[in-house]
Structure formats: structure tokens, C-alpha cells
Amino acid sequence: MNTGNTHQTADRYKDLDICVIGGGPAGLEAAIAAKKLGAHVMIIDDNPVLGGQLIKQTHKFFGSKAHYCGVRGIDIAKLLTDRVTELKIDVVDNATVVGYYDDDVLGVLKQDTFVPIKAKRYIFATGASESMLAFENSDLPGVYGAGAVQTMMNVYGVVPGKRALVIGSGNIGLIVPYQLLQAGVEVVAIVEILDKVGGYYVHAAKIKRAGVPIYLRHTIIEAKGNDSVEAAVITEVGNKYECLLGTEKIVECDTILIAIGLSPLCELLYQAGCRIDYIPELGGHVPFHNEDMMTSQQHIFVCGDLACIEEASTAMLEGKIAGAKAYETLYGENKRSKEIAEQAKKELFIIRSSPFEERILFGRKKLNP
């Protein structure tokens, strides 16, 4: 490992106001807001391109015009990245933040070089990772996170297989199979353990029109195959979600997509000593934060899926709040910073007032009673 130029590199950033960890929709909006207000901002991201998970989202967003309605995720990523370039925000790409150390220093690994970086404020927008489901042979190659398949397919143009089975019918579980069909992959079925589809009706209608069956009150109990998936065993479930004996069906497929949800990536927040609460409605273990997206540590802010598993549109709004509020803790409140944060809070409130978002509001009340 090369640590020769460590100090030199660190010096370059000695006047850093705000360091944003994660260049997805939340992190980018946070950085843009803070930089627009005049702060010295840096973004650290582990990918070669900015945009986070937006770079694989080929579907059009909906909602209002302010939230990029009718624009595809891939194009939102471009818009935000262009804005970052225009504003000359410092970007450290292909770099992983590997630790949060004493004296509030970040350890950053960039191509085998370890660089300590210190900023006055940190905004974590690390996102989430896909949750796993336990069933027999769930470790077989061919069992993938739905997002993994989306990355391979929509970013690199590689199909995951010929016949896919999808577990879970949340928005990811409904959108990815549609994209599989667009890439020429057969989708055998979507399996959902609850008695209703989890995601938005528009997405469900689209996939049903394409002729993909959705098995409600079903789950997967086994993957079959020697070196990789050749089939899956699914079964009906009863009122207590117990598997009903005798209802097993063998489904031939070479790919199984797990789309049962996401878990916030809060390891660095644990290291930083932030309070972490367990709130299932928000995605499990999430860093405590107030309405200003400030954690239990006054110099650390969070936004996006790390704070609460939701949508890219809400992640962007949370980013704006975090960016403006982090700025205010350094330079004080002004008219523009107030405007950015208040407008974003207002829009968040409107989105979360829909009956579909009840769970999120319930979870947020638990966070800030």
C-alpha cells in the first residue's frame, strides 16, 4: 500500500467545509445545495461515475415537475452530474471511505492509496444494500439482488440469464422484471408473500399487461442446481406466513432475483459514534436524525436511503435539506439557505402525505416522537 503522498494529499483539503460521502441522488443534491450557498464542498464516491443507483434506472419518474416527473433516472443522473461540474465541486471518484477515525478524520482508500480527509461537517449519503432472504441453496450463483441484475443489465449491457424468477413485489420487484423483458429475458413470475402487491399500481399494471403472473401469498423455499440455479421451489403460505405443505411448485429458471427490500449502510455512522435506532418502517437500523437531517452528532448529517429507505425523489429533497443545514451550522442562516431547506421540507411533506407513505410517516414519528 502506498502512503507516500498521504500528507500532501491531505493538505490539499485542509480548508474543506463539507465532505459528502456518496454521490447518488441524495449526496449530489446535498453537495449542490451547500456549494451554491458558498461552502467548500467535496464528494467522495466509490464508482467511476456519479449518480449512484440512478445510473441504472431506465424508467421515467412520476410526481410533479419539480421532482423530474417524466424524466428517466439515467437522465437525472446526467443533469445532477452536469450541475456538479458547472459548480466546480471537488469530486474524488473510485474511492471508498473505509473508516471514521478519532478527531473526526475519514480514511479514504483510492486505488491502493490511503488518504486521510478531514472536513468541518460530514454529510453521509451512503445509501443501502439489498437485503438477503434465507432459503435452501440461497447462496447458489444465479441468486442475485434485483439491483445487481439491474446494474449488469442497464449499465453494462449484460443479461443475467434466460429465465428469471423475482421474489418480492415492491417497486424494485416490479420495475426490474419489466426491464428484464426489455433486455430480452423471459420473466417466469413474481412471487409475493403478502396478499397484495407492494409497489405502485402503475408499475404492477405494466408488468401484468406484459403477461407476467404475480403469485400472491407465495414464497420461495429452495433453489435447485449444482453449480448455479436451474430451478426454484415456491410454495403458498398460510395466515401466519407458514409454508403450506403440498402446495410446492417447481419453477424452471436460471436466475432468481431477490427484491425484498434494502438495508441502510450505516457502518461508518456507528464508527462515528452516532446514535442508531431500530425502526423497521424506515428500513431497520437507521442513524437517528432530526428534521434538519442532523444526527446525534452536530457535525454529521445524513440523507437518502441511509436515513430512510424511500424513493430517489425524497432522497434528493433530504439532500437539499442536509446541504443547506450543514452550511448553516458553519456560516449561519441566510435567506437563501432558509429558502432551500424550507422549500425541500414542504415538498417532502406533500410527498409523504400520500396514503402510500403512511408507513414512512409512522416510522419518522418513532424517530422524533
Binding site: 466509490d46 464508482n47 467511476p48 443507483q53 431506465t58 428517466r72 439515467i74 471508498t96 444494500s129 439489498e130 438477503m132 447462496d139 447458489l140 450463483p141 444465479g142 441468486v143 442475485y144 439482488g145 439491483g147 445487481a148 441484475v149 446494474t151 449488469m152 443489465m153 442497464n154 453494462y156 449491457g157 449484460v158 443479461v159 443475467p160 426489455q182 433486455a183 430480452g184 453449480d227 448455479s228 449502510l265
Partner: protein
């Protein structure tokens, strides 16, 4: 190389130069700059490593550098996260058996 999408209603794929690389001494082709795991998958290779205790086949799971299910030996270096590591011409990629030796 039939794992690649050639026609797509929305996307156009800008791929790098087509290059040779090696998987367990077998010569394969892939596009420079794409993750090694994607190039292997397109060539039909799904088993990336063998688990330490029960010797079970392992593939990638998250494809975004988070889960460590895709660790392989690349040019003699163990524990390379191949879902993130870009492919280069002439790379020698091997299945990792158990824990990598440094």
C-alpha cells in the same frame, strides 16, 4: 460472447475496446473497463469462487461492491472485488478457493 444485449428499446451501450483476458488459463474476450464479473458473466461463467468451509460455489450478489460475494484472484492478487474492478487486456483471473493468501 452471447450474454450481451445488442438491441434495447431505451439504452445504447458504449463499450470499451474488445480485449483478451484469461479465466483459469482459458482465453476469453471482454470489453475493457467493464467490471470483470460482468465480462465473466457474459461469457457464461457464474461461479467466481469456492467457499472456505463447505466448498460451495459462489457468484456475485450485489454487483455494487458491498457484499464481498465476488472475491477472486486477479493477476495473483487475492480478494479482488470483481463486480467493481475494471477489466484490462491480458488480465489473469482465477477462482478464489477459500480465504485468499497474501
Amino acid at each position: 460472447m452471447d450474454g450481451y444485449i445488442t438491441e434495447h428499446p431505451i439504452l445504447k451501450f458504449e463499450r470499451g475496446k474488445k480485449v483478451k483476458f484469461y479465466f483459469e488459463n482459458q482465453e476469453l474476450k471482454g470489453y475493457e473497463g467493464m467490471p470483470i464479473a460482468a465480462a465473466l458473466h457474459a461469457a457464461g461463467i457464474k461461479v467466481l469462487s469456492i467457499s472456505e468451509r463447505y466448498k460451495r460455489p459462489r457468484g456475485f450478489f450485489c454487483a455494487v461492491g458491498k457484499c464481498s460475494s465476488c472475491l477472486m484472484e486477479v493477476d495473483g492478487r487475492p480478494n479482488v472485488m470483481v463486480c467493481m474492478e475494471p477489466l484490462k487486456a491480458g488480465m489473469k483471473v482465477c477462482r478464489q478457493k477459500g480465504r485468499g493468501e497474501l
